[in-house]
């Protein structure tokens, strides 16, 4: 039986989820651990979706995705400090992320592609440093706490609370997981609509050969700017959810390593396919979560003892996976052949 691409991608995703959570169960980890791992998986899938659009579809190298997350998180936090309602913070965060994307894009997108990479990585670092030092606005390294979190009251009482109790999970983290899954799903659906439209076709053409897209009458600058701004939105949403999940907004949450997690996720999942962000996040955060609890036997035991060594194991598994499937988990092998 030959499966369609949709079914095949769905199966890969399902298999990855089952493998990761099956391993959790086999190790005797409780629901609480699984919920926390699930939150990270869902959040980073959302975060990486933006990059899957910008990098995977349009070929734009955005190394500052975490900057858009910081904008989202700080919008929620600062709205609270200013006494504004939470909804305003959310809107402010999304608008500011799109605005900053445009500000970064306007001077760089007419230049050679590497300039965008340099500018975006600088932008994210500058934001983090501003958040650390401008204490009047952001409360500096101590960060912002005590802001309202959506659904906190609703989730900790009544039906949801008893549902969570039956699963053996804390009600609010379970609620955040559900919210993260919902927003990731919605963002995926919205981006998938875009990618499968004539708009998405132009993005792919830009990735393949911008000069050709121009010669065929496409104003490539407009498309690149739009892709950058739209891809920033899931980044900002990630920041907000991250703030709500951990009840704090601190500069250290927005270091550049997070952007590179997203890069790993989209490459591991498969560039050129939005679903790569979903599958990649399951595998990367599944591996990281497992590496923290698995005790390796015999002479390898030292690898399980210290944090950095755990990441060594994750790295080795990633290398093996990329050797086994260079096109990524749900990537298209044919597209590897015709790459630049």
């Amino acid at each position: 039986m030959k499966l369609g691409r949709d079914a095949r991608d769905g199966l890969v995703l399902l298999a990855a989820v089952l493998a990761v959570f099956g391993a959790f169960a086999a190790l005797g980890l409780g629901t609480g651990y699984m919920v926390n791992a699930g939150i990270l998986i869902a959040l980073f899938a959302l975060f990486s979706l933006g990059l899957a659009l910008q990098f995977g579809q349009a070929g734009l190298v955005n190394f500052g995705q975490v900057g858009f997350a910081a904008i989202g998180a700080y919008a929620v936090g600062i709205a609270h400090l200013q006494g504004w309602p939470m909804g305003w913070g959310v809107l402010l965060g999304l608008a500011a992320a799109a605005l900053f994307a445009a500000l970064l894009g306007i001077p760089t997108l007419r230049l050679r592609e590497d300039y965008l990479a340099i500018v975006t990585i600088g932008f994210a670092e500058i934001l983090r440093i501003v958040a650390t030092s401008e204490v009047w606005l952001t409360q500096g390294p101590l960060g912002i706490r005590g802001f309202p979190r959506p659904g906190l009251e609703w989730a900790t009482q009544g039906a949801w609370a008893s549902f969570a109790a039956r699963l053996g999970a804390n009600p609010y983290p379970l609620f955040v997981l559900a919210l993260a899954l919902l927003l990731t799903g919605l963002s995926y659906a919205a981006l998938a609509l875009l990618v499968r439209s004539p708009w998405g076709r132009v993005l792919k053409a830009i990735r393949e050969d911008e000069g050709v897209a121009e010669a065929l009458g496409k104003d490539t600058f407009r498309f690149k700017l739009q892709a950058l701004a739209i891809g920033a939105l899931p980044g900002a949403l990630f920041g907000m959810l991250f703030a709500w999940a951990y009840a704090q907004v601190v500069p250290d949450n927005f270091t550049t390593i997070n952007t590179f997690y997203a890069v790993i996720i989209v490459v591991l999942g498969g560039l050129g396919n939005l679903r790569g962000a979903l599958a990649g996040s399951v595998v990367l955060w599944g591996l990281i979560s497992l590496a923290q609890v698995v005790k390796l036997p015999g002479p390898l035991a030292f690898l399980s003892q210290a944090g950095p060594a755990q990441y060594l194991v994750v790295g080795l598994v990633l290398i093996a996976l990329m050797m086994f499937r260079p096109q990524g988990l749900v990537g298209r092998r044919e597209e590897m052949l015709f790459g630049k």
Partner: protein, 246 residues
């Protein structure tokens, strides 16, 4: 085009060239390697900014307009080394080129209000592929096409623009003779069908002299001749440009 010029450092790649292409006319552009033919195309198509001179398209001054704007105004071009969008299908390559697509704007794209127009675009693209004999490859990645097929694909993309003027940069270069014959036939058919004008760079001088209404010759960035094919055959300066001064 009038007085068109472009220098790269000290090299005057295109030096004050005047050239006209009338409606529906087929003009050949020949000249030795490095004469500035492709640079002239880049200037006309807006891929490079000109240092001096002007370009008019259907009476309108379009000097300095970006390439995408010129394409929308009816100027199509193909490239010397065919540039297929490799990781897209042949059909996608051709559909992409259709002008005025509603679904290329973000909101309509998400609301899927473009599907009706897309059916028309796809139908036209399939017709175009059939016209070029590429229909069997519609769903293959463009990266899997041969060099000659890529040249045909570029022609197809250019046709989708319904241009008034096509700039063809060496449509026959590196193409096997059988396919080259087909490309020549298809160019003639496009001309008959769409009535668009052509400016063609080609090193196969014999084909150019046989098929074009008029032939311009460039050497060292300058236009050295511009006449009917029969006059070009006997033009001394042309022979000198190709063979070196006697």
């Amino acid at each position: 085009m009038r007085g068109l010029a472009k220098a790269f450092g000290g090299v005057r790649a295109v030096d004050a060239v005047d050239l006209d292409v009338g409606p529906g006319e087929m003009v050949g552009l020949i000249g030795p390697n490095g004469a500035g033919k492709t640079t002239l195309f880049d200037l006309v198509a807006g891929a490079l900014p000109a240092d001096a001179g002007s370009v008019r398209l259907r009476g309108e001054d379009v000097t300095g307009k970006p390439a995408h704007d010129l394409a929308q105004r009816g100027l199509a071009r193909t490239f010397q080394i065919a540039r297929a969008l490799a990781r897209m299908t042949v059909l996608e390559n051709v559909c992409l080129a259709a002008p005025g697509q509603h679904g290329e704007r973000v909101l309509p794209a998400m609301l899927r209000t473009w599907t009706g127009q897309e059916r028309e675009v796809e139908a036209r693209a399939r017709e175009t592929l059939e016209f070029l004999g590429l229909q069997e490859h519609a769903d293959a990645y463009a990266g899997s096409l041969s060099g000659g097929q890529r040249k045909l694909l570029e022609l197809g993309r250019a046709m989708m623009l319904k241009p008034r003027l096509m700039l063809l940069d060496e449509p026959l270069a590196g193409v096997n003779p059988v396919l080259a014959q087909r490309i020549l036939e298809r160019i003639a058919a496009i001309r008959a069908l769409q009535g668009c004008a052509f400016l063609v760079i080609e090193h196969d001088v014999e084909s150019v002299l046989r098929t074009c209404d008029r032939v311009a010759v460039m050497a060292h960035g300058k236009k050295i001749a511009d006449a009917a094919p029969d006059d070009i055959r006997v033009d001394r300066s042309v022979l000198e440009a190709y063979l070196g001064a006697a």
